[in-house]
């Protein structure tokens, strides 16, 4: 089913204006110290939730920013959308402060 995403910068837009970045996978705080097992799990495995999923979208046809979106993967209803901090900042790309803007 097609659906709209609420971009905090550009408003409600068709999902085809975005690239899908997959479910949110938090990187470890200290990647150098990550164990091989944990790295293996993070690289290959997915929750593939039937229900609410926190995920990434890149608005290539708009503001060209990464967004964090919460979507129900059964109904495709989008619950929340927010910006992801730019990489390189203190929070890194995993920063969550921008999330949950309704």
């Amino acid at each position: 089913m097609g659906f709209l995403l609420r971009c905090p910068n550009c408003g409600r837009r068709d999902n085809r204006e975005f690239w899908f970045g997959g479910e949110d996978r938090s990187a470890p705080k200290n990647p150098e110290e990550e164990s091989a097992d944990s790295n293996f799990e993070r690289v290959w495995f997915r929750d593939n939730q039937r229900g609410l999923q926190v995920e990434r979208w890149f608005h290539f046809a708009g503001c060209r920013r990464w967004h964090t979106v919460e979507r129900d993967t059964h109904s495709n209803v989008v619950r929340q959308a927010g910006l992801v901090r730019e990489p390189g900042g203190d929070e890194g790309i995993e920063g969550r402060e921008g999330r949950c803007e309704r």
Binding site: M1, E23, F45, R50
Partner: protein, 404 residues
């Protein structure tokens, strides 16, 4: 063959669910039913229950575009799909059920230098491993399929070559499901529809059975053939998988006079087009880019794919769409299936069938049945073990998926 008119036999009343079976198979699609059939037919294991939460063939088995082919692009996959193709060839006789298999010849178009090279490689690799695939120049393609517009609607992506796989076939997908179900039931297998697995009993690293909405079942072995829902099933056993479920859509037009006797795939247009025995022109395309369990179709898919089909086949512009539908595909990162154990004794996975599962059915059934019956991993599926991701032995075969 007498089975064409025997569909009503499938609707016989289901026996009551017993408390113990030798083997419980989760998922009553073509894969689950084939595993059950080969367990009974080849290994004499008839104390088998197939548990299906909806009706048999309600998932990918009834939603695919019915193409059979063996023109894959890794040695492991070519071996496996050739085995499946050969089993399909005689399946009507084996199941005593008319599967309406029809050899059409499959043309896989290339529209630029890179994809032309991929199709050349495909032809060479297939020939090396004994699969009949040849490379064609555009004028040879036109001879085989005059309906095709070689300029592709002047989109700037003309046909510059193709691989041709003469054995490429279509088969009646629902009949495959019904044929396996009927044959398995005749041998004593029980098929329980409208029954949902709600839990998987794992104690001390061993799987002892499942819980269902109709009560618990003890089992000597449990096989997951759960298709697009496999991550949810695996979660019940405490497993995570390298799998993401994506929607895949398709449509058919209204029935039309015989107009297209080939199966035509395109690397850049991401379409696969054939004509069914009822006359409908059947077309599919790429998976939706986001993961979802929704099976509601989109107008965007219909509009895009119809346009891409018309670019290749101008006659399709005058056809009316009859219906469209969506299935759920469990996609693996390397576009190859996952078959075998999962670190839990007595629990087997037959999954990762993405957009390439239907053409694999008999080979998956034979090999998983052998694995369950003997405990030995058949040579054909050794490379497809879940552990390949940890061992850095992925079998990257994206260019053979047809949907990317």
């Amino acid at each position: 063959v007498t089975g064409l008119l025997r569909r009503t036999e499938l609707l016989r009343t289901t026996p009551p669910l017993r408390r113990r079976y030798d083997v419980v198979i989760i998922g009553g699609g073509a894969h689950g039913l084939a595993i059950a059939y080969y367990l009974a037919a080849r290994h004499g294991i008839v104390d088998v229950a197939v548990i299906e939460r909806s009706y048999i063939g309600s998932g990918g088995s009834g939603r695919n575009t019915t193409v059979l082919r063996a023109n894959y692009k890794t040695p492991e996959a070519i071996d496996f799909y050739r085995t499946a193709f050969d089993l399909y060839r005689d399946l009507t006789q084996e199941l005593d059920y008319n599967l309406l298999r029809s050899e059409r010849g499959l043309i896989w178009l290339a529209h630029d230098e890179a994809s032309r090279r991929i199709q050349q490689e495909r032809a060479f690799l297939n020939q090396t491993f004994g699969v009949d695939t040849v490379f064609l120049e555009p004028d040879e393609v036109k001879k085989l399929c005059p309906q095709l517009d070689l300029t592709c609607g002047r989109t700037g992506r003309p046909v510059v070559g193709a691989s041709f796989h003469p054995p490429g076939s279509v088969i009646r997908h629902d009949a495959v499901v019904w044929g396996y179900a009927a044959a398995a039931q005749r041998l004593g297998v029980e098929v329980h529809q409208d029954t949902t697995v709600t839990g998987i009993a794992v104690r001390n690293g061993r799987c002892n059975g499942v819980q269902t909405n109709r009560g618990p079942i003890d089992a000597g072995a449990v096989v997951s053939a759960a298709g697009g829902q496999v991550s949810e099933v695996a979660r019940l056993a405490g497993l995570r998988l390298p799998i993401v479920s994506h929607p895949l859509q398709a449509f058919v037009t209204e029935p039309y006079k015989p107009a297209l006797d080939r199966i035509v795939l395109s690397t850049q247009f991401l379409t696969y087009v054939s004509q069914t025995s009822r006359g409908e022109i059947l077309a599919g395309a790429e998976i939706d880019p986001y993961n979802s369990y929704s099976t509601r179709s989109t107008f965007a898919f219909l509009a895009d794919t119809a346009a891409r089909c018309i670019d290749q086949f101008p006659f399709m512009a005058k056809l009316q769409i009859l219906r469209q539908w969506t299935g759920t595909c469990e996609m693996t990162p390397d576009y190859s299936p996952i078959m075998g154990g999962a670190g839990i004794d007595g629990f087997y996975l037959n999954t990762g069938w993405g957009t390439w599962g239907f053409k694999a059915v008999p080979a998956a059934g034979v090999t998983i049945a052998e694995l369950v019956a003997t405990g030995r991993v058949p040579r054909l599926i050794v490379p497809f073990a879940l552990s390949r991701f940890r061992d850095d032995r992925v079998i990257a075969d994206r260019s053979s998926a047809g949907t990317h």
